[in-house]
């Protein structure tokens, strides 16, 4: 036997394998593609609506609302003024519309990730078996190069917003799920025992004890989720998602240095705004843990 070359399958077998898998997947997309697309229509409608709202409304109102949200979450004047300046600069440099598209995209993706991620995280925290199944899937989602799962998504949905959202959510949801799971698992067992001793049922335990005490960790998950969605914006632009990613992609292809830097900085700016606002909000949720008495 030859010990130098690894005994791989023959080239012919591999080719047949590829052809048969690709073929059956193509058939699957032909058969169910439209149904799947229809299932995701509400999602697309929501995204289009949000985008239209942000772009179609007069800019002073949008600016005021965005800065207002930042203030309500952070209750911090420095963060609020910083956000105002950053958004104003973005507008001045002509990136307002793209930025609004990106914000709509990130907001939709984060919302999806929260809606899907928190229940999955709760299930994971409840059962070691679920955790055992979900964990490797999350590992896969986090390490698989995103271009790889873009292929089947594009094959089913074509280019556009929906495949973009799916790709971003796949990439951004793992920290949401993991941190929800972790937060619930870290809840002090003494407090849980007390809840049991007073006769709480499972739902009461979840809403009165586990979720509130896990909330700071869950907030960190949401924060991570937003950051990762923003990081995916450029890659998502490759499958037709409009926003700040597209000019960056354009800049890469054509070596437009200034254009790349400007749009890149706009992404950084909204990332920082989102991050500071959510973190400050998370911190405010923990106000009760301030120790005044020794």
């Amino acid at each position: 036997m030859d010990w130098i070359e690894f005994p791989s399958l023959s080239r012919g077998t591999l080719r047949d394998l590829r052809i048969s898998i690709d073929g059956s997947f193509r058939e699957f997309t032909r058969a169910y593609g439209e149904t799947l697309e229809r299932m995701f229509e509400p999602l697309e409608d929501f995204l289009v609506f949000l985008e239209g709202l942000l772009i179609g409304s007069p800019w002073p109102i949008v600016l005021a609302v965005l800065v207002g949200i930042v203030f309500l979450m952070s209750r911090d004047l420095k963060v609020t003024i910083g956000s105002l300046i950053a958004l104003a600069l973005i507008g001045v440099f002509g990136m307002w519309e793209d930025t609004m598209r990106t914000i709509a995209m990130v907001a939709t993706c984060t919302l999806m990730a929260v809606i899907l991620g928190i229940p999955i995280g709760i299930l994971m925290a409840r059962s070691d078996r679920v955790q055992g199944v979900v964990n490797p899937i999350l590992d896969l989602m986090q390490t698989m190069p995103s271009f790889v799962y873009l292929i089947p998504v594009v094959m089913i949905f074509g280019l556009g917003k929906v495949p973009g959202v799916i790709a971003v959510v796949v990439y951004a949801i793992p920290p949401m799920i993991r941190l929800t799971n972790l937060g619930i698992r870290l809840v002090d067992s003494d407090v849980l025992e007390a809840a049991d001793a007073f006769g709480s049922n499972a739902r009461q335990k979840l809403t009165n004890v586990q979720l509130p005490l896990a909330l700071p960790t869950i907030m960190a998950g949401i924060n991570q989720c937003i950051m990762m969605s923003l990081a995916m914006v450029v890659i998502a632009s490759m499958i037709g998602v409009k926003g700040l990613g597209q000019p960056v992609l354009n800049a890469i292809n054509n070596q437009y240095f200034t254009m790349g830097v400007m749009n890149g900085l706009a992404i950084v700016a909204i990332a920082i705004i989102f991050d500071r606002a959510t973190q400050a909000y998370g911190k405010r949720l923990q106000k009760h843990s301030e120790v005044i008495h020794g």
């Binding site: 002090d188 007073f198 006769g199 005490l213 009760h288 005044i292 008495h293």
Partner: protein
């Protein structure tokens, strides 16, 4: 105010930790020791044939050192831990046989628990912690708050309703724990080393709070402690646990005067006997005294000694509630009883 109607009857209770606990019960019944069970079968004997009759409306103390199984035992009363074998009777109901729903109702309405590490909900204010039990029962918020504020006042936390637990000292946190348990207005109050985490002075303070409350409430209180002084101060009855088995139970006086074995007599040697032994135990019932100092029956020797010291008398007659003489107590007998350690 709900006064306790039923005591708690614990019968032949076994708890063996391990995958085949049920099969191990027979081996323990046949006399296998805790060490042997652990070595040969890798099962841990938690509780070994516990039989305690806890009287209604009284304080039953369960005392033992760490690892004796006392915390395991108290968790069987509201079944936070499932027994391997045996019964925990409350009236005619066996807690161990209750369905999930029955158990939840039992926990909501019949028991309340105070924990060593307080186990308060850190994200809720004092008031919101106190109403927790009622909130779970579905009591309307307004009524729950009214009931809770009464107990918050009673444990001395007036004005702290809107504080978070972390903003309070340990003693005050445990007062919240106590208010939360009392607000539930349950028959049974389970206190798992409730004062063990507190400073000695604050602990004494909390013991007084508990005794004062019990004077008006008459709940069935199960109090776990590792501190003999605390056990003797609080307990109407005391059970001493070692290696998962009860080695002696009775009143504090019985345990101090007649320790069942070497282990307990080691324990009680350092006890202030003047605070445990009643005058009735020491008095001479055959004698009677004309006039002179009178001492009410049932007080402790220390208080009697104080009376002797205050009045300069050397003899007194012990009288019952109606003033009838029961016997004679002398200074000599009092002092002798207070300083003689038990010889065992």
């Amino acid at each position: 105010m709900a006064e306790a109607k039923h005591g708690i009857e614990i019968r032949n209770l076994y708890k063996i930790f391990g995958p085949n606990g049920k099969e191990m019960v027979q081996k323990v019944k046949d006399g296998m020791s805790k060490a042997e069970l652990n070595e040969k079968f890798n099962h841990v004997l938690g509780l070994n044939d516990i039989n305690i009759s806890m009287p209604a409306g009284r304080i039953q103390v369960v005392m033992g050192l760490s690892g004796s199984g006392k915390s395991t035992l108290i968790r069987h009363i509201n079944r936070l831990i499932d027994p391997t074998a045996g019964e925990v009777m409350y009236g005619t109901d066996d807690v161990c046989k209750m369905s999930k729903n029955e158990l939840r109702e039992f926990r909501r309405h019949k028991t309340a628990m105070v924990f060593q590490k307080f186990a308060l909900l850190p994200h809720r204010t004092v008031m919101k912690n106190a109403v927790y039990g009622l909130e779970i029962q579905g009591v309307p918020e307004k009524e729950a708050k009214e009931r809770a504020s009464r107990w918050i006042t009673r444990v001395g936390l007036d004005g702290f309703e809107d504080h978070y637990p972390n903003q309070l000292s340990g003693g005050m946190q445990q007062r919240v724990g106590l208010a939360r348990a009392l607000t539930n207005d349950a028959d049974i109050l389970l206190m798992d080393e409730a004062f063990s985490a507190l400073d000695p002075l604050i602990r004494m303070d909390m013991q007084s709070v508990l005794l004062d409350l019990q004077e008006e409430l008459h709940k069935t209180i199960v109090f776990i402690t590792h501190d003999l002084d605390e056990a003797l101060r609080l307990g109407d009855r005391i059970a001493i646990l070692r290696d998962g088995a009860v080695i002696q139970q009775g009143t504090g006086q019985e345990i101090v005067l007649r320790p069942a074995d070497e282990y307990i007599s080691d324990f009680v040697r350092e006890v202030n006997r003047g605070r445990v032994i009643k005058v009735d135990t020491v008095m001479d019932k055959s004698k009677s005294l004309e006039g002179g100092l009178t001492i009410p029956s049932g007080i402790m020797l220390e208080e009697a000694a104080k009376k002797f010291a205050d009045t300069g008398q050397s003899e007194a007659s012990v009288v019952n509630g109606t003033g009838a003489p029961l016997g004679v107590l002398t200074v000599q007998d009092t002092i002798t009883a207070m300083v003689t350690p038990s010889t065992h």
